[in-house]
Symmetry: C2
DNA sequence: TTTGGTGCAAACAATTTGCACTATA
DNA sequence: TATAGTGCAAATTGTTTGCACCAAA
């Protein structure tokens, strides 16, 4: 238990650190500035595990640094997306949610229609097949978006 | 040439007719009314082939019936979605586009990042694999959304 | 000390809603 | 003729932007 908790924390810390490093590099390469606000926003974003809206992230950030404005949350996330370090997603709702994007890593999503929990997965066979379909239609495949919706079987999933 | 054009027209007419029938049934079952506006909106929607936003559909409809308001376009489309006869989609943009949903029919999309053209396809192998993934994670799969993005090779696709 | 970032409020864009009126059932 | 639908304008929601001030580089 303690071990698991500790492990999680450490890996989250590492994740934050490496993301911040990558972001700082991106910024300095184009004479942009790394600010205290950006640090808090990104840190809380990573800690949360992602998949949250700008508004939700804003609420979390405000608790840590009450002076941060919603506009800065939007600006920081957009900047992260520009840097290729985050991705915008639209699941069930119209509002955008964001997730960290580690270069090289890519995954798809499984969303529970009852509890709204979002799971991630990777599947080689599906990707191969997608490539075949695209090629068959004369398409040079650049990216894809696959979302599976269903009912999960977690014991605490409400029958909503 | 003539034959092809005629065929298309006929099938579009049939499509409109059967969609309107299904919609009328839906409406009368719950004491809702089938109005002249709804008829024009849905007819133009089908004729257009779908994949357009409320605003775009509104522009088309206004040419046929200048009295129709944007709100009615939204209300009609939403009502069609409620009836299960249309589906909302979000591709590259934030604005919703809609498409006709024929019960039983389902397909995925291939979108050209250069010319924005939307192609539809179906692939059994991908669907099978999706089912396996979901089952493997203890999910009862209800629906899915797959979008492939790439570059098409149509001669008239602009290098945008 | 230059210039990009910030918070705030105003602006925007997409969509929904309240209301007096109209048309379908 | 009762009630759902309509057009219009106002309201809402999510997101972006202009501006005077602040803080990284």
């Amino acid at each position: 238990m303690v071990k698991k908790g500790k492990k999680r924390e450490e890996s989250s810390d590492l994740e934050i650190e490496s993301l911040l490093e990558a972001y700082k590099t991106f910024l300095s390469e184009r004479q942009l500035k790394f600010t205290e606000q950006r640090k808090v926003i990104i840190t809380e974003f990573v800690k949360s595990g992602g998949h949250l809206s700008a508004e939700d992230l804003f609420r979390i950030v405000k608790k840590k640094a009450s002076n941060v404005g919603l506009a800065s949350v939007y600006r920081t996330i957009n900047s992260l997306v520009d840097a290729g370090l985050a991705e915008e997603r639209h699941f069930l709702d119209k509002t955008s949610v964001y997730e960290i994007h580690k270069p090289g890593d890519h995954h798809d999503h499984l969303i529970c229609l009852k509890c709204k929990k979002i799971f991630e997965f990777e599947n080689e066979a599906i990707e191969d097949q997608q490539k075949k379909v695209a090629e068959g239609l004369g398409f040079a495949l650049k990216k894809h978006k696959l979302e599976l919706y269903g009912w999960c079987q977690r014991s605490n999933c409400p029958n909503y």
